[in-house]
Symmetry: C2
């Protein structure tokens, strides 16, 4: 897939970049952070994702002649600026949390430092990639958590918001915990097992259901997952499946199972299970796949539905119950005349005030239990002492200092891109999935809860908190 | 952009196609229809969109050697089938409603006829393209209707579900009524005006707001839309904007206006309007752009907010309040031994029973008023008589016959793709927008209402209704 998305940019980024080019010294450098404030589905964290595509997009970033001609045709920009674009080499340094890291509100999950003009031009593209994949990875985590270890297949390509959404969505779904995808292009690109068997149209293409199943079993004797709800699950689908399973067993093949895609899944699965077991097919699996999400899965399992696999379509691939992750890209520092100035964006809504400066995020683990118990956002050049008195990162929370001790602090932001050098970002999606699972498992259980989770504490170091307070005071003094 | 999406297919399409290849005669042909059952946001219709990309995808459709190698590596498919894929030329005929047509539940909006194997392989891709763009065009229609003629700018690239979603979403947004997009790539590809001015980071990059505005006005004296909410809209932003507007006017330039992106938009816009008017800038426009959708716009306008333009981000580009259009692709007929057999999918949910046969959709206009008053779904080879007794297309509605007369019937499904020939599908998005507007204007006003719309009648001809009833009876007799 074409990863040069340089033109996927809001017009105002070009307009500001042209303005900087005309107005400010070319030596001006800036730092911007990506973070978010609200967790989808009232959860307590987001699973960071999309970094591989960010790095690929940075590596491929350039403007073609046709792009320059198009921008010239807008009659907005100087030839000097257009020439800068035509010859641009990205001179930015990017740090990011590893893909699959649970990230909490206000924590920078990606930072960009470089020439102000370039850093500005990257805003839209980086947000697009990070917001989308983090949204879907977060939803997949919820759905696979609800499935309690049963494999979840990503089935959403036909309802995804365009081709990229289906492909990168499938990738993010695996990072969040899915076992496979029906999307062949995503499977091919990201080495994900491809999943799926037949649609109702297969059954309709034959004179009757039994003939359709038998034709299938002849072609796929070892992949006989039969869709049993084209006509009537219990009167026709399951009895016909059992007939075929007997024929398969008689010829030395192991029947796979059945899929139910409509109706009262709990009741149908329970009765199908009884029928399969009675016929001696205790190993045949039952897959359910009709407009499911974490809420429906929890309810099915609570009712005792004997489901072995879930296939999840539109509710996962669009994060339908919460389809937007509102990550933002905010200036944290500006270098003028060689001097770094921390920057904040103040706001009438106090909780929207941003965090200034070059920053690092630390996850603090209890020294004995190795469980994470808090995150601390620090200035990048700070060294965390053994004992530290911190304040809450949420300006609406109490600002009483809390003393933290007996911890191991793990820095989360890592360099991923620099001029002439790209770090080895993990690209094996199942390795990322494993990292996600392990990093999640170290969080408090109450934080991982799907409904009414306990909010995990995120603190600021005294230095960072004071820097923010000073800048707020300057603004109010204005 | 690469339009060959042949691998963007659910695995089961390949598995079924390989199965057909092994099982059924190659002469078997099929007809599949795309239609949907539920309108997003409880509206009464969907705006069909995505057809240009469908046609481009059909033209580009092919499998590369690497694709064939990948499919071979799955150890599922025969060499005969892989060879069919490698040498495949699409031999399908496609009909579709023109982009921008309001389409009602159960109406086929696209039909594909061709070799069963090929028609099956196209399912996922066609649904993906049509579902996504129709969803966004439908949302854009709602939002632009709420704006009552005020220009709406599409601003959602950073929150779209991936790069394609931002680009094709912007295209669909224009079809549904938007005037412009901030997305430069979409603007370039589809000849849409590119919109936008500055972000808060511009203002923060200068020592103070006035300096930032003055720098902007120097670079863009004729594009001075100033973002006034970085610090304080009424105490700082608007007064500074007025200072700059005076300087611009003194040098012969026409100030553009201000943008408000946070806070109580109604109150801020009202007071800003008073301040701008008092300073002699009655022509300066006010743009609002903070998490808006049709509901918020209606409420702002009801409160009398003096807003001239709207910029709409995440709520439009993801159709956030209703982020899925569940279009389906169902078999309507199958040709075996040279004989067409109409097909239906029955279902425990009676309203899910599909419509069999090759079909055409007619929109009926009153002969005198030229307003549309009903749609009729007919078999493709029927000629509508002057007076016709029809039944409701919704199986849950009363099946009493209704007699229709004094109409002009316009057939909506048109050929768009055939082997060796592609129809001229309109690609000028503003021409499509104009067609959308005119086609909408002919619908009853109560059908166009955003909340609790009056449902528009969709009927079946007696022939089609009888064909469906006969097939239902056969299934229940089974």
């Amino acid at each position: 897939m074409n990863m040069n998305h340089a033109m996927l940019t809001d017009l105002y980024e070009f307009s500001m970049a042209n303005g900087y080019c005309a107005t400010l010294p070319h030596t001006d450098q800036a730092v911007f952070d990506i973070f978010y404030r609200t967790v989808p589905d009232h959860g307590s964290f987001v699973i960071a994702a999309g970094l591989q595509q960010v790095v690929e997009a940075l590596q491929a970033f350039h403007f073609d002649d046709t792009d320059i001609d198009y921008l010239r045709s807008l009659n907005l920009y100087s030839e000097a600026f257009l020439n800068e674009l035509a010859t641009m080499k990205l001179a930015c340094r990017v740090t990011a949390l590893p893909e699959g890291t649970p990230v909490f509100p206000r924590e920078p999950l990606l930072t960009v430092e470089g020439p102000l003009m370039q850093v500005q031009l990257l805003e839209t593209l980086l947000l697009n990639l990070v917001n989308h994949q983090s949204l879907i990875a977060t939803k997949a985590r919820r759905i696979t958590a609800a499935a309690e270890g049963r494999p979840v297949m990503e089935f959403g390509a036909r309802r995804a918001q365009g081709p990229d959404a289906s492909v990168y969505g499938a990738r993010a779904a695996v990072i969040g915990g899915c076992a496979s995808t029906s999307n062949v292009l995503a499977a091919q690109l990201f080495h994900i097992p491809a999943a799926g068997t037949m649609a109702h149209s297969w059954v309709e293409s034959f004179s009757d259901e039994l003939t359709a199943f038998r034709a299938w079993a002849k072609v796929y004797p070892d992949n006989s997952a039969l869709l049993v709800d084209t006509y009537d699950v219990l009167k026709s689908g399951v009895p016909n499946a059992i007939t075929i399973f007997k024929e398969l067993r008689a010829t030395g093949h192991q029947p796979v199972g059945i899929r139910i895609d409509s109706g009262d899944i709990t009741q149908l699965a329970k009765q199908a299970r009884v029928m399969l077991d009675a016929a001696g097919f205790q190993d045949a699996k039952i897959t359910a796949s009709n407009a499911l999400d974490e809420t429906v899965i929890q309810s099915l399992l609570k009712e005792g539905a004997p489901i072995d696999n879930f296939g999840i379509g539109e509710k996962l691939i669009t994060s339908a119950s919460s389809p937007v992750l509102s990550g933002v890209y905010k200036m944290a520092a500006l270098q003028t005349d060689g001097q770094w100035q921390p920057k904040i964006k103040v706001s009438a809504s106090r909780e929207k005030t941003t965090l200034p400066g070059h920053k690092q995020v630390y996850r603090l683990y209890h020294r004995d239990s190795h469980r994470a118990f808090a995150d601390v956002i620090a200035l990048a050049d700070e060294i965390l002492p053994e004992t530290i008195a911190v304040v809450n990162a949420n300006p609406l929370a109490t600002q009483t200092r809390v003393t933290l001790a007996d911890f191991t602090a793990k820095p989360l932001l890592q360099p991923v891109f620099a001029p002439g050098h790209t770090a080895d970002v993990p690209t094996d999606v199942f390795a990322i999935q494993k990292y996600t699972r392990e990093t999640l498992a170290a969080l408090p259980e109450a934080t991982q809860r799907l409904v009414n989770p306990d909010f995990y504490p995120v603190y600021l170091t005294p230095k960072l908190a004071e820097m923010q307070q000073k800048l707020i005071a300057v603004h109010h003094g204005n």
